[in-house]
Symmetry: C2
Subunit: 411 residues, 2 copies
């Protein structure tokens, strides 16, 4: 039986998960591919560490040695940084290998170039593991919604942030305490900036934009905000209104414009993200034929991420051209966004005396924490007038929510 | 440019949705397939009715005329009954056409035979529309989870039942009132038996079993129960415990056995189905590498179902062998189910005097409505001893739920 030879770059959590899964699921891989899948090489950084890798596998710190192997079909990349990863993958593609990556930062920056290079070299690229771990969201957009015109994608894409927000609410803890818990559980790095400031979710959002709309918004025009501004006080105030904070990535196509933001928002019980708790991820896709579908599942972890890589391994072997679907369908048009539309906001630091005729006061949760209804423009303006003002949009139809609660009485 | 010629059998809600979508999404279909997709014929039952169909399309009550067309590539079947549909589709396959069906009852009965026939004739079959409407659950199982060994599938597969249960709870209405509302909204037929007695969900469950495990359980061994036994009183009692009734199809692979049931169960807030309301469908797949993922979305309706058919249209054109993945991966083994395991049940009609040492009394919601903890065997035994006893299992870890509620104090 012929053999498919795989190299794994990086032997951290993801690399190890992929290695173990290729061992444990050899039978399934052979059944589907008609060939045996073998790990031929593992690229490591530190050759002093003990690792549980079979003796037949080349374990090396030198990528050149891997490319020199007599046969190499697929390179799985599970490193973190942009470089030297990007350089390695370009070499692998030129060498004729399919590539699979779990590296969102690298792929958000260089995905387009890699796709084009792969296309020139008639190899394929799998990148399911870059977004939402084991949830097959990339493949759903790439392979299952080919005719549907996607016009909106929303996602809880950073499990660490979602875990912290859940802990803060459920245990009535501070951000710092909850971050520490996330670090103790292995969900957050020693330096959590990438997660809690929204960079990780931002990169994933750019990858989702390209797969959904064939292009990305101007990176500098994307609102990116993490969860560090959210206090226990704000969470408690939101809860009084039946609202929860979620860190949500949002992509909307209106005409030829892509509007993107990655920031904390509030959602009510009717929103599918209200119940997405802990390290779970969820992605909500709206398209013109099917309407709204939501995918939810484990967004990170050794095996969920390995699952995405292993399923990609089948995908790239079944000769899917790299470019196919990556450029997206023509894209939907949900109409120009009305900047004058009144939305609902939870604001902190605002007193009644700042009220303008264009603001409707909906309710008060605590001292200086209000729900107001006004335009984006107006609330931005208020924030300029008054330093220290924080404000978060409320997603969905807050009216519906209000009808269902005793709060209505207060209006 | 070459053309793909399609015949639509049946011009009810689904048939019309498919027809309209082929017209509205011609550009996308051409972009993806490199060919123009044209509706060549529509099979109707009653040729007296006015229909909005282009004059170039053959509209006929005679299937033979459709097969006599000079070119025919795909037959989309959107009829309800098993016959003459099955006969038509066999003829279409032998004629060399790919087929796409939305007919769960027919496909549950004859899917295996059609797949085999299609395989012999080198054509492909799409059946995404048979289960969960627009949610791409069949393709997720068929194409995206090829290496994962699925060991459990749970689903809310009948939107009508879910709508009725939601109405009963939210509006505190009777079953009859809620059924009427479902009929007024067009969600339920004049004769609702198929939906409310669980037959519709049963057929979908059998299709899911085949795609997940490559085989079906013995149909006669499957517990099938509809929602007609559920009263407002039971719903109110369940709500006191933080539980909701959901009509859930459940498939579990344990060893070589497939255990299946389609029946009302109770779920707590931690279960992903707790928040699936109204006509929405949801499917929850557990597999060994990725863990648990949930897909949620519109389970029926003109365009959600048309979406499933149109995406299948691309799938069958891209020459996927019919048999591929339909036989499933080797299948997981979550270990023999322990029949002696104590589970939680909501029971009505039981008084304390029937208590056996093997029953733990957890709580009481109303007169003769209790939550108990005992084995399946024991509760079956009780029902034999005492006529009129009704009992529903509580899914998930009820212990966790209890910890979070004031109920704990009562234990």
């Amino acid at each position: 039986m012929s053999v498919i030879k795989v190299a794994i770059l990086g032997f951290g959590t993801v690399g190890q998960g992929v290695y173990k899964t290729i061992q444990s699921h050899g039978e399934e891989l052979t059944a589907v591919l008609g060939k045996k899948v073998e790990v031929a090489a593992v690229l490591i950084k530190n050759n002093q560490k003990e690792r549980e890798i079979s003796e037949e596998v080349l374990v090396t710190t030198n990528f050149g040695e891997i490319l020199d192997l007599p046969q190499l079909d697929i390179v799985v990349e599970a490193i973190v940084d942009k470089e030297p990863t990007f350089t390695f993958l370009k070499k692998a593609i030129k060498h004729g290998c399919h590539i699979i990556t779990a590296n969102k930062e690298m792929f958000a920056h260089h995905g387009k170039e890699l796709i084009e290079l792969a296309d020139e070299n008639h190899v394929s690229i799998g990148f399911e593991a870059t977004v939402a771990g084991g949830i097959p969201v990339i493949q759903t957009l790439r392979e299952l919604l080919k005719i549907n015109r996607v016009d909106q994608v929303q996602g809880i894409l950073n499990g660490t942030s979602n875990f912290i927000l859940t802990e803060m609410r459920v245990k009535k803890q501070s951000f710092a305490q909850s971050l520490l818990q996330a670090q103790l559980n292995g969900y957050a790095e020693a330096d959590p900036t990438n997660d809690v400031e929204g960079y990780d979710a931002f990169y994933k959002t750019m990858i989702l934009s390209r797969i959904s709309f064939g292009e990305e918004p101007n990176w500098h025009a994307v609102e990116r905000e993490g969860i560090t501004s959210i206090t226990s006080e704000l969470i408690a105030a939101a809860e009084k209104f039946g609202l929860r904070f979620k860190h949500v990535a949002s992509l909307t196509k209106a005409g030829n414009q892509i509007k993107a933001s990655v920031k904390p928002v509030l959602v009510g019980q009717e929103h599918p993200f209200y119940h997405v708790e802990g390290v779970e991820n969820a992605v909500n896709v709206h398209s013109d034929i099917v309407g709204r579908i939501t995918l939810q599942g484990p967004g990170a972890g050794m095996f969920p991420t390995a699952s995405a890589v292993i399923e990609d391994l089948v995908y790239v072997c079944q000769s899917h051209p790299a470019k196919r679907s990556y450029t997206g369908t023509p894209g939907g048009n949900i109409g120009q966004k009305n900047e004058d539309k009144k939305e609902y906001w939870l604001v902190q630091g605002l007193t009644k005396k700042y009220a303008a005729p264009s603001i409707t006061w909906i309710d008060q949760a605590a001292n200086e924490i209000f729900i107001i209804q006004t335009t984006r423009k107006e609330v931005d303006q208020l924030a300029i007038q008054q330093g220290g003002l924080v404000y978060y949009p409320i997603l969905g139809e807050y009216e519906t929510l209000l009808k269902d609660t005793a709060l209505t009485a207060l209006l």
